[in-house]
């Protein structure tokens, strides 16, 4: 069985570095588009998204096509899943069509891990519930590295609904493996104390100023109202206490960068001024998403040796 990519937690630093290095080869030159290659010519990947996503699905699709692979995207709303078919049956049916990999997003934490135990086809996790979103962490790391920074000793503030964020978990796992200082920040009801122990190098704070002070990188998370199973904070107060505004940036390092996995909610977790500022690298993240996913697909599908 080939190995897919289920999460960052299970990867070691060398494996991560190999993907990040390879992603650089796929980045477009200034002013150009992504180069098309035939590295995965004749291969087929299936994009199976059980949860609404435009950017991640499109990003994977473009990545596959840039590698010469065929990409089929399945609209789950129109598929058998809505006819009462179980997840295992859906996946077995798809696997019988012999794709080389299945890229999957699902609202249930661990859904791809559970399926991989019953399936030969490698699965690439494009986000599972509130657990992991490995390619997001890889593209975030690639984006930080592009600014000339190294990940060691970096102070990274991750701010928002940490409890329900798969992005925060994957980023924390990745940065921790490089020895970064990771500050997780949010209202206490969204910041369980156990988070401190999921990986080395993590501290927690409920104070936004404290989180941002001397930060090299600020990662804002989307306030995920659809994952709020209850009211864990007064929504009307969120921006006042946890929304990132220009004045906050003065507390950070002068060359701080602001990241966001998107889609951004202007005025909810981040002000427009910050989102559109010189410090924002949000669109670089989107671009790197394709380069990193090309590197991941190449690794999973075992493309030709690098040039």
């Amino acid at each position: 069985m080939k190995s897919g990519l289920l999460g960052i937690e299970d990867l070691n630093r060398d494996e991560i570095q190999a993907i990040l290095d390879r992603a650089r080869d796929f980045q477009p030159k200034k002013g150009e588009g992504f180069r098309k290659t035939d590295l995965l010519c004749g291969r087929m990947v299936v994009n199976l998204f059980f949860e609404a996503s435009t950017r991640t699905r499109t990003s994977f699709e473009i990545a596959a096509k840039c590698l010469g692979a065929d990409a089929v995207s399945i609209n789950v709303q129109a598929s058998s899943a809505t006819k009462g078919e179980s997840l295992v049956d859906t996946l077995n049916t798809l696997a019988a069509m012999r794709p080389d990999a299945i890229i999957m997003r699902h609202a249930a934490s661990g859904a791809p891990h559970f399926l991989q135990r019953h399936l030969e086809t490698p699965i690439v996790n494009a986000g599972d519930g509130t657990h992991e979103h490995p390619t997001q962490a890889l593209l975030d790391a690639r984006t930080i590295l592009d600014r000339g920074a190294s990940l060691e000793k970096l102070r990274v503030a991750i701010i928002g609904d940490i409890a329900h964020s798969r992005v925060a978990r994957s980023d924390a796992y990745l940065l921790s493996k490089y020895g970064a200082d990771i500050v997780l920040c949010g209202p206490a009801s969204l910041l369980p104390p156990e988070l401190k122990d999921i990986a080395p190098g993590i501290t927690l704070t409920t104070n936004l100023d404290e989180a941002i002070r001397d930060a090299d990188v600020i990662m804002m998370l989307r306030v995920q109202l659809e994952r709020q199973h209850e009211s864990a904070f007064p929504a009307s107060e969120y921006f006042q206490f946890y929304g990132l505004r220009l004045e906050h940036l003065r507390l950070a390092k002068p060359d701080v960068i602001v990241m966001h996995p998107g889609p951004i909610n202007r005025g909810r977790e981040i002000s427009s001024e910050v989102a559109d500022s010189q410090r924002s690298v949000i669109l670089n993240q989107v671009e790197n998403g394709i380069a990193v996913r090309m590197a991941v697909l190449e690794r999973v599908l075992g493309g030709r040796a690098t040039h």
Partner: protein, 414 residues
Amino acid sequence: MDPASGHDAIADVLIEDGVIIGVGANLSKQGAEMFDASGLIVAPGFVDMHVHLREPGFEHAETIESGSRAAAAGGFTSIAPMPNTSPVNDNATVTSYIVEKARKHAVVNVWPIGAITKGSAGEELAAIGSMIKAGAVAISDDGKPVMNARVMRRAMEFARSFKVPVIDHCEDLHLSAGGDMHEGLESVRLGLRGIPGCSEDVMVARDILLAEVTGARYHVAHISSKHSVEMVAFAKSRGLAVTAETTPHHFAIADADIVPYDSNYKMKPPLRGRADVDAVTEGVVNGAIDAIATDHAPHAGDEKMQEFEKCPFGILGLETALGVSLERLLHPGKIGLMRLIDLFTTGPARILGIPRGTLAAGAAADVTMFSLDREWTYDVNKSFSKSRNSPFDGKTFRGGPVAAVVNGSVVWRA
């Protein structure tokens, strides 16, 4: 070995017409059938005071017959099924149906537990008196705890008039809502919603206070958290009629031991943190906990082959309970053999008030024979249960059940 009398000797057990005639050296009777139990432990028949037999209503997962066979293979000669069947066992008709079905098809004794409230909906008291008259030995809304403290108080008062225990599945449903596993580092790491230990503790605290007010006999089902064990010990120190059971999985497996997203590790209460597991073990040792029960909860294969958050709660337990208990309690020397047998026999029998759990002359001839050293491997695909949801599949145990005798008849032997 008989905890009720403290008898501990190599001896013969003479049984006639389903009744124990005596225990002693060189007992025999002309024409009697011999069962050679040399090298084995001979104990009163085990009592599991907490099982789910799924009949009526969910016969695809288990039946009274299949569950009773699994019980016998686990050394249990008496089992008490919880009322969360369909329909719920909340009236004498359902109780009588279970009693009658058991009489015809079960290979072990079945002692039904009736619901506390109608439909276990937590509002109106069920027909408790008539269920008891029809054979119910306790009341519980297992799985659907009575959230309204006033209703619970009335249930305790009413149950006191019939001298039956009120068994509570202690879970504050608001605190646990949406949870899939114990709330702690592991749930945070795995991105699964947590069931906090306090969701159990607040109910145990409430119930103990109500038990004091009402004078009821109150029993905590499947106790799993450190604070709950401490509170039960406290209640006992105050002389209240408070008892508790725990399950083998709650003293054998911590949340950090689970296979991630494997639903064979999903049950309520959830597998808790190491400190809780240690506290439950300590409660078994020091007597805060009175009985080992399995919470045997069969679910059909397709129900457990889903996304973790979609899978129902519960695992099998009857066939592995003794093996797990020997491994975790006896072999490491935490408790002695007499105490172990007590937890499976006298303990639960006394709580339910059933005339079982002893080898005394005149008692019903329910006997469990087990080995302390025979190695065997659990193969869930050979289980007598109709379901296959066990985290112990493929596990090798040292010691386990060898034969079960119910009313003088050997109903199972290894």
